[in-house]
Structure formats: C-alpha cells, structure tokens
C-alpha cells in the first residue's frame, strides 16, 4: 500500500506544508530560499540557486518543504534511492523562449549554455536530484487529464514495481508548486501519514490549486 509521508506547497506569496502545518510568506523566490534556510527546511544553501529558472527554484523549494514535512533528512555527502517525477502544464516553454530569444538577440552567433540547460522539461527535477542526492528514477511526465492524481498514481506504481523505494511527485510552474513524498506503508512506523487513496480523492475532485491545498490541510485536521 502506498502512503503520502509529506506534502509541501508554494503559492505566489505563501508557502507551507501539510502534516507539520508549517506556513509562511515570502516576497520573491530569492527570499523564499533565505526563509527556508532560516527555518532549517533547507539544510544548506542550494548552489547556483540564482541562476536556476523559476520552475527549478519552485521545484527545489517545494521538495524541501515536502521532505521536511515527511521528516526525511538529507545531506550533501550521501545519496539515496529516491526517485523524482515532475509534471506541469507548460513544460519548459518559458525557458525555451528565454534561451532562444537571447540567442537571436546575439545575432544568432552564440547561445548561452546556462540558458540552454533549462530547455529540458526534466531539468528542474535534475537540479533537485543533484541538491538532495536523489539516485532513483528521474523523469518529467505530461498527463493529458487529471494531472495531479495521474502523477500520484504513476509515481505510486513505480514504487509498487520496485523501481525505487520512495518517489517525490512534484507539480511545479513558475508561480505555484505542490510536492508529495510517496512511500510504501511500513507498519512499524508511527509517523503521521496519509493514504494515497485519500489524497487521490481530494485531488480528483478539486482542480483549483488554492482550494486543493485548503482541502489537504483540512484532511489532516480531521
């Protein structure tokens, strides 16, 4: 059986997590990074955070919130068999445009490698894998319907097929993100968790992001 061990979320000026009921405000993504460091949600600074595209920043910060919610620690000297699956509405089209417009502005002579690396939809997950030390499967999947529940089901099945021990499932755009830590149920653990089926029930019924986060918060209070 698959459980959800932690959930992190970010809105344009707010962030939080569900099980630990963490909540805070921020002005812009650089200050979010600083806030998460101050609160020890991020255990150490994310190298080169300033050059990340916004999707990568949101992905990394929401994963940090979800891992903190799940009580999972990490360090820059160890790696773990954890996979990461990402999704969103628009892939990396904003970064694609940013890279190609910059190249055209240069007279079509020289592209910038630092912009080019963000022209893959899987790059935000890769930045996260490098920072958190995730050695499991890494992929971006675009679902045509029911994006968040489809993502959760997909990630859960990868665990059940023993492709990895845990999965991070993250939906992140430039403005908002929600991240789930999926694991197999361990009867010996007394950590607070949620059942995947319960989360699927909420995410299937509610497509509005803000409303979904409120419902997830309420689920824990119940």
């Amino acid at each position: 059986m698959i459980i959800i061990r932690g959930i992190g979320w970010i809105k344009p000026t707010e962030y939080g997590s569900i099980l630990k009921k963490l909540q805070g405000n921020y002005n812009e993504l650089k200050s979010l990074h600083s806030r998460l460091l101050q609160e020890s949600v991020l255990r150490y600074p994310i190298k080169n955070f300033g050059r990340f595209d916004d999707s990568s920043k949101m992905t990394c910060c929401s994963i940090a919130l979800a891992l903190n919610d799940a009580g999972i620690t990490y360090s820059n000297s160890t790696k773990n068999d954890i996979g990461v699956l990402g999704t969103n509405d628009n892939g990396c089209i904003k970064s694609n445009l940013s890279y190609f417009k910059d190249y055209v502005a240069s007279g079509r002579i020289m592209a910038r490698g630092n912009l080019f690396i963000y022209t893959l939809p899987s790059t935000p997950m890769a930045e996260a894998a490098i920072y958190f030390g995730f050695q499991g499967p890494l992929l971006y999947v675009k679902f045509q319907v029911n994006q968040i529940p489809s993502m959760l089901r997909f990630a859960g099945k990868m665990i059940l097929r023993e492709e990895t021990s845990k999965m991070i499932a993250v939906e992140a755009s430039e403005e908002k993100a929600v991240c789930f830590v999926l694991d197999k149920k361990n009867d010996a653990s007394n950590m607070q968790t949620l059942f995947l089926e319960d989360i699927l029930d909420i995410t299937e019924k509610i497509s509005d992001f803000d409303e979904m986060i409120e419902m997830l918060k309420r689920k824990v209070k119940m």
């Binding site: 020289m110 050695q135 679902f143 492709e163």
Partner: protein, 377 residues
C-alpha cells in the same frame, strides 16, 4: 510482478540513413556514417558544420521536422496499431522549430511547440481512443518510455502500449550543444582515443508493445521481449556524467535483477556511446564494474546515426532487437583507434553475437541513466 511478459510486436524508424529499419541496419553494417555537412541553417559560427539529418525533410515550413518524419511513418504502419493502444510520446524538444519560427518571424504560436500538442496530433494520426502521456528525461527519454510501457503491461495496467519517439536537428538545439562545447568538429567517434564530442542526429520511430497473451491471441509476430530495466540518477552534475560510472552501473545492476538474468547471460551491449570524452569513459568504467573480466561485445550506433537525443533509446532498442534476431553485433562506426580503456570491449567490425539477451543503455543531462534488458523471442 505478475508473470505477464511485455513483448514488442511492431516497430519502425526513420533515421539519417533513410526510411525503415533495414536502411539503418544496413547503413551501420556498411560501416559508413550518415553524419555529413548540412545546410538546414547557417552553422558558420558553431563548432562544427556536420550533423546526421534525415534526407528530404523541409525546414521552416508549416509542417514541423517532426511531423515530416512521423506522418509518413505512422500512416504507413497504421494497420498494425490498435485503436486501444495507450500512447507514450518520448521527446526532449518536440516541434521546437515552431518556437524558432515564432521568435524569428513572429509567425505561429510558440505554445504550438509544446510536446503535449504533438501528443494530440499523434493520437489523431494513429486514431487512438484514449489519452496518452509525454515522457521527457533528456537523452534517456525514449528508453525510459519503453521501460514504463513495459511496466504498465507487466503490472497488468495495460495490454497494449505504443511508444513514439522523436527529436530533430534544429538551430535551437545545435546552437545549445555548440555553446556547451559538446560537438566534435569533424564527426562523432565513439570509444575512439581521438574522440572529441558528439554529432547531432535526428530520428523518429515507434515501438508497439503488448502483453504476451494479447500478442498470441492476435497472432502478432513477436520481435522480442522487454525483460527488465533499471532507472537511476547520478545526482552529480547537470551536463556531465558521474566520472566513475557508478550511476550507470547501478542502473545496469537494477535492470539485470529486474529481468532475473545474470551478467554472464548478456550477449552484447548497446552503449549510449556519444563520442564525448567523459561519457564514453564513464560507460566503460560502469561496464568494468558490472561485468569485471567478462568482456561482452559493446557497440554504439551514434558514429553512424549521430546522437538522436530523445529518440536515441527507442532507435537503439530497435537496432538491438535486430542484432539479437540476426545474431550480429553491429560495428561501432567511425572507430579508428580504440581508446585504451575500451580495448577488448568495442569493435569497428561486425561480430557474431553469441547469446539471446542484450542490454541497451542511455544516459543524459541531469545525470539520468536507463538500462533496458532485451530478450530474443
């Protein structure tokens, strides 16, 4: 797992060697490369003026390069594709030439370049009746897509999945790889001591997978079995592989375990073999870590086809099945002086294949690794 087997019942490709599997296979066996000078867009300011492009495609027109490949390919094979097949599209940049045109001329909508838009076109083209998904994982996109397709079948979630893979040689991608100094000035020479980078290539293709029971029920000719896979990440660097090959070695070990086969059962090994100094060195280290002194024949097709990015995995799986069924290990094209590290592993000439199991691997930006175990049927 359920005991259900995932088998390949149909496939086809278009590559820089031309249309069809035979043209690619024969091209590789001829030991001649399809990488050459091309004039699709100005390349004077880049590291190289060579790439491997599909002959006859038009660039900068209404139809994208990808649709120029996929439309004839899928239409030709439509009778073999069931309407209830679940579609997985694997690509890194999809119809990126649409975004180029938007920026360069103001024409078209940049959003038209999104892979999910391409997914819808393929659904219509193949007359499929259920929604599909896009999988993107850098240069391992289509090998991961094939692994996930097999997973859906083995876990009885689906009994028929089609994986469509594609990527093209565009100015967008060419300029990017040039900026990263990743291109060989001449042409890719995988596992050669004088290698100095990759050559870009383009390809499209599809692989139709079914459960063994459905394939038998429908009297489908079985090409081979996707027997296992392993997915890992280096968690190390965005554009360079882990130098010691440990991430890839872990993926190969996972794949062998999931297929329940020993490394001694492997008849040959289809490497990612891009021709970059670090990739090829990393792969040989991974092979040594897994296979020890048991040197299996290793080959890379990228000296012939160029690096076809998100399509590479699917293309290489199809060629690996050809290799199994024809009992020939293809030569590594453009290999002149074998790197000391790779000595005894790779060959510039075709070899007789002894065995019925092979592994195909891909690695990509962000440290992604995928190993897929293929069995002869």
């Amino acid at each position: 797992m359920t005991g259900t087997k995932a088998v390949v019942v149909a496939c086809d490709i278009v590559t820089p060697y031309g249309w069809g599997i035979d043209s690619c296979w024969n091209g590789l066996l001829s030991e001649k490369t399809a990488i050459k000078r091309f004039d699709r867009f100005p390349t004077e300011s880049f590291l190289t003026q060579t790439a491997a492009v599909v002959p006859g495609l038009t660039y900068g027109q209404d139809e994208s390069l990808i649709m120029g490949m996929l439309k004839p390919l899928l239409q030709k094979n439509i009778s073999s594709i069931p309407e209830d097949a679940f579609l997985i599209l694997a690509t890194t940049t999809g119809e990126i030439d649409k975004l180029e045109r938007h920026v360069l001329t103001g024409g078209t909508d940049a959003a038209g370049s999104r892979p999910d838009k391409l997914l819808k076109k393929i659904l219509l083209l193949c007359r499929l009746n259920s929604p599909g998904i896009v999988i993107s994982a850098a240069c391992a996109s289509s090998s991961i897509a094939v692994a996930q397709a097999a997973g859906m079948i083995i876990s009885n979630e689906r009994d028929c999945v089609i994986v469509v893979a594609c990527d093209s040689v565009s100015e967008f991608v060419f300029a990017g790889f040039s900026s990263l100094m990743a291109l060989d000035k001449d042409m890719a020479k995988p596992f050669d001591r004088d290698r100095n980078g990759l050559s870009l290539g383009e390809a499209s293709g599809f692989l139709l997978l079914m459960s063994e029971s459905r394939a038998l029920r429908e009297n489908r000719p079985v090409i081979g079995e996707i027997a296992g896979w392993g997915l890992t990440n280096d968690a190390n660097h965005m554009t360079g592989p882990s130098r010691d090959g440990s991430g890839l070695a872990m993926a190969i070990r996972k794949a062998l375990k999931s297929a329940n086969v020993s490394e001694k059962n492997i008849g040959c090994f289809s490497a990612h073999g891009t021709g970059t100094i670090y990739n090829d060195s990393m792969e040989i280290k991974a092979l040594r870590a897994v296979f020890g002194n048991h040197k299996v024949p290793v080959y890379s097709i990228k000296g012939g086809t160029g690096h076809t990015l998100g399509a590479a995995g699917l293309l290489e799986i199809i060629i690996a099945f050809e290799s199994l069924n024809k009992k020939i290990v293809p030569p590594t094209v453009n290999l002149c002086n074998i790197d000391n590290e790779a000595s005894g592993w790779v060959s510039s000439e075709p070899l007789t294949l002894d065995g019925s199991v092979t592994i195909s691997t891909n690695s990509g930006f962000g440290g992604v690794n995928c190993a897929v175990v293929l069995k002869k049927w």
